[in-house]
C-alpha cells in the first residue's frame, strides 16, 4: 500500500505527538516519489525541535521550505510568515503545513481561515498513544474536539505515530494501530497511514495493517545523536 497524499495537508495533534517528524518524513517520501513538495513550519508554540531545524536537509532534496525571517528563527514569538498565505494560494502538488501542538498550536489556522476556506484542505491528527493525554480513545477525541474548535476546521484523517523513540518495539506499533482503529471507528475518520522508524520497519508484519506504513528516519534529534553515517551534521538552521 502506497501513501498517495496530495494537495494541502495540515499536520496537527497533541503536543509532542510527533507532528514535525511525521511532516518532515512525509515531505521527503513524497519528494522521492517524484512530486513537488512545499512545507512550512507553523509551530508558534514549541521553542525547540521544529521543522526549521531540518531546513538544510529539506532544501538539499529540492523541497521548498517556508520559514519566518532568519533573524526570528530562535524567537519564541508568534510570527506567521506572509509567504505562508502565498503557498496556500499557489500550492504545489503536496503542500504541508506543520502546525503546533494541541488546540493552542492550531489557533494560527484560524488566522489563515480566509485563505484555507477557498481550498480543499486535509487536516490530519497525529496520535502517539505513548504520550500523556492520548493513551486512550477518550483522550484522542478530546484533543480532536479542542483542535477543531480552535482551528475552526474539521479533522479529515488520522495518522498513527506510536513510538518510544529508541525503545520502540513492534508491539508498540501494533498497540498504537489498535488504538487508532478504535479512534477511526468512533469518528468514522480514515487512517491515512501509520509510521515506523527504519530500525524496526523490517520486523513488522505489514499484513496486520490495512493502511500504508511510512518508514521514517528521525530528523529531530538531540545534539549527541546528530551524526549521519558519514559523521557529518545532517541539519542545521
Amino acid at each position: 500500500m502506497n501513501i498517495d497524499i496530495k494537495g494541502i495537508v495540515v499536520i496537527c495533534g497533541n503536543y509532542g505527538s510527533g507532528k514535525t517528524e511525521t511532516a518532515v518524513n512525509l515531505a521527503i517520501k513524497r519528494k522521492m516519489d517524484g512530486i513537488d513538495v512545499k512545507i512550512t513550519d507553523l509551530d508558534l508554540v514549541n521553542p525547540y525541535f521544529r521543522t526549521r531545524e531540518a531546513r538544510v536537509l529539506l532544501e538539499s532534496l529540492g523541497i521548498t521550505v517556508i520559514l519566518p525571517d532568519r533573524q526570528y528563527m530562535h524567537a519564541d514569538l508568534p510570527i506567521l510568515a506572509p509567504a505562508v498565505a502565498g503557498m496556500i494560494q499557489q500550492p504545489s502538488e503536496l503542500t504541508i503545513l506543520d502546525a503546533g501542538g494541541d488546540d493552542v498550536g492550531v489557533t494560527v489556522l484560524a488566522a489563515l481561515e480566509n485563505h484555507l476556506a477557498k481550498k480543499k484542505v486535509q487536516l490530519l491528527q497525529v496520535i502517539n498513544p505513548f504520550r500523556p493525554f492520548t493513551e486512550d480513545v477518550k483522550g484522542c477525541l478530546r484533543i480532536k474536539e479542542e483542535i477543531e474548535a480552535s482551528s475552526k476546521m474539521k479533522i479529515t484523517g488520522l495518522v498513527g505515530n506510536a513510538n518510544l523513540i529508541d525503545e520502540t518495539l513492534p508491539e508498540h506499533i501494533y498497540k498504537g494501530y489498535d488504538l487508532l482503529k478504535e479512534v477511526s471507528s468512533a469518528t468514522g475518520l480514515k487512517i491515512e497511514f501509520i509510521t515506523a522508524c527504519s530500525d524496526i520497519y523490517p520486523q513488522l508484519e505489514l499484513n496486520r495493517f490495512s493502511c500504508p506504513v511510512l518508514e521514517i528516519q528521525r530528523k529531530m534529534n538531540p545534539p549527541w545523536k546528530r551524526l549521519s553515517i558519514k559523521g557529518v551534521l545532517t541539519h542545521g538552521v
Binding site: P47, Y48, N128, P223, W224
Partner: protein, 355 residues
C-alpha cells in the same frame, strides 16, 4: 507502570505529583513553560493547585508561604526568573523551609536567548541570593534522571529543611525520552510539628511555631548560620552523586562535564575509543555538594595527563574542578554558550588538541 514518552518539562511535573507535591506556583518563561501547562491540566485531577503568580518575585514568596506551612511545594522557571526568585531563596534557606526549585537554564546574561545553556552554575552553586546559604543542586542528564532527582528532591528538601534545586538546561526540558516513574521514590512527608506554621488544631504540641529569617540578636543569627553550615557539611558527607564513564580505562584525558553537555562528551568519548584514544568522563550529578574527592582521584590517576572542564558556559564549574585537582594536573576549559550545543566532533577536536 509502562514507559511513556515525555518531554523533560512534563516529566518533572509528573514526578512532582508522584512525590506528593500538590502546590505548584510559577510564572511562564521559555524553555520551561510546559511544566506549568502540564501541571495546569494534571494537578486538579489529584486535588492539587497550580497558581500563576504576577511575577517570579511573587512566586518566590508564594513558595516561602506554602513551605512555611509545611506543604510540599515546587516552582519551575528559567534563568531570568530564578534571578527574580533569588531573594526568596535566601529567605527560605534562612528560615529553614523545604521547597523544590527547578531552573531549566536558557542563554544569558540578561534576557539572553531561549536556547540551552549552563550559564547559571555559579548562581545555583555559589548562592544567587545573599548570605551564607547553599542549595542542594541536582544536575540531571536526561528525562529519566530528571524524574528521579525531582522525586528525591522533595525527600531531601525535608531531610535538610531547605531549598533543593534541579538545574537542567533547555535541552533537558524540551527533549523527549521514554520514562517511567519509580514507586520506591515516593515518600511520606516528614514530621513538621516542631517547626511548621501548620495550625494548632492538628498538632500534638501546644508550642507556637514561627517561621522567620530575621535574627536581630547577633548570637542567635550566628547560631542560625552555624545550624545551616552543619547541614551543608552533612550534605557533603551524605548526598554527593557522580558518574564515571570510561574511567576504568587508562585514559590520558579526563573530561569533567554535567547535564546535556556530558551526553555530547560521552558520544565524543565513544568516537575516540574507536580510534584507540582513551578518554574518561567524570559527571557530577550533584553540583552542590560537589564530588571533590572523586574529581581529585580521577584527575590524579597515573595515566591521566590533562583535565578539561567542558560546559555550555564561559567557564564556571572549571573553578571547582581546579580547586579539587589542587594543582596536580593542568586544568583546561572549553565552552560555548550562545545556545548551539558543541557537537561531538568539536569535542573530539578539542581533546585531540590536548594530547
Amino acid at each position: 507502570m509502562a514507559k511513556v514518552l515525555m518531554k523533560g518539562n512534563e516529566a518533572i511535573g509528573e514526578a512532582a505529583i508522584r512525590a506528593g507535591c500538590k502546590n505548584y506556583f510559577a510564572y511562564p518563561i521559555t524553555p520551561q513553560s510546559e511544566v506549568a501547562e502540564y501541571l495546569a491540566k494534571r494537578l486538579p485531577e489529584v486535588g492539587g493547585v497550580f497558581l500563576q503568580g504576577e511575577s517570579e518575585v511573587a512566586v518566590g514568596y508564594m513558595i516561602f508561604g506554602a513551605a512555611g506551612c509545611g506543604e510540599r511545594v515546587m516552582t519551575t522557571s528559567s534563568s531570568p526568573g530564578i534571578s527574580l526568585m533569588s531573594e526568596a531563596l535566601s529567605y527560605i534557606a534562612a528560615a529553614q523551609c523545604p521547597a523544590v526549585f527547578v531552573n531549566i537554564m536558557r542563554g544569558g546574561p540578561g534576557l539572553g536567548g531561549i536556547l540551552p545553556s549552563q550559564g547559571d552554575y555559579f548562581q545555583a552553586v555559589k548562592g544567587g541570593g545573599h548570605g551564607d546559604y547553599h542549595l542542594l543542586v541536582f544536575a540531571p542528564d536526561g528525562v529519566q534522571e530528571a524524574v528521579e532527582m525531582t522525586m528525591n528532591a522533595f525527600t531531601l528538601a525535608e531531610k535538610y529543611r531547605g531549598p533543593v534545586m534541579i538545574l537542567g538546561d533547555g535541552m533537558i526540558g524540551q527533549m523527549m525520552e521514554p520514562v517511567e516513574f519509580p514507586d520506591h521514590l515516593k515518600s511520606e512527608p516528614s514530621n513538621k510539628d516542631s517547626w511548621a506554621t501548620s495550625g494548632m488544631d492538628k498538632r500534638k504540641s501546644d508550642k507556637r511555631n514561627l517561621v522567620r529569617s530575621l535574627f536581630l540578636d547577633p548570637t542567635e543569627l550566628n547560631q542560625n548560620n552555624l545550624t545551616l553550615k552543619a547541614k551543608y557539611d552533612r550534605m557533603k558527607k551524605e548526598e554527593i552523586l557522580y558518574e564515571g564513564y570510561n574511567t576504568d580505562s587508562e585514559y590520558k584525558v579526563l573530561i569533567v562535564s554535567y547535564g546535556t553537555m556530558s551526553r555530547v562528551c560521552k558520544t565524543a568519548i565513544d568516537m575516540m575509543k574507536e580510534e584507540g584514544i582513551e578518554v574518561g568522563l567524570l559527571r557530577p550529578k550533584t553540583l552542590f555538594p560537589f564530588p571533590e574527592e572523586a574529581v581529585f582521584t580521577a584527575a590524579t590517576k597515573e595515566s591521566c595527563k590533562a583535565v578539561i572542564s567542558i560546559e555550555m558556559s564561559m567557564g564556571q564549574m572549571v573553578e571547582d574542578v581546579e580547586r579539587c585537582v589542587k594543582g596536580q594536573r593542568k586544568v583546561d576549559f572549553y565552552g560555548e554558550c550562545g545556545g548551539d550545543i558543541p557537537t561531538p566532533e568539536k569535542i573530539v577536536e578539542i581533546i585531540k588538541g590536548l594530547l
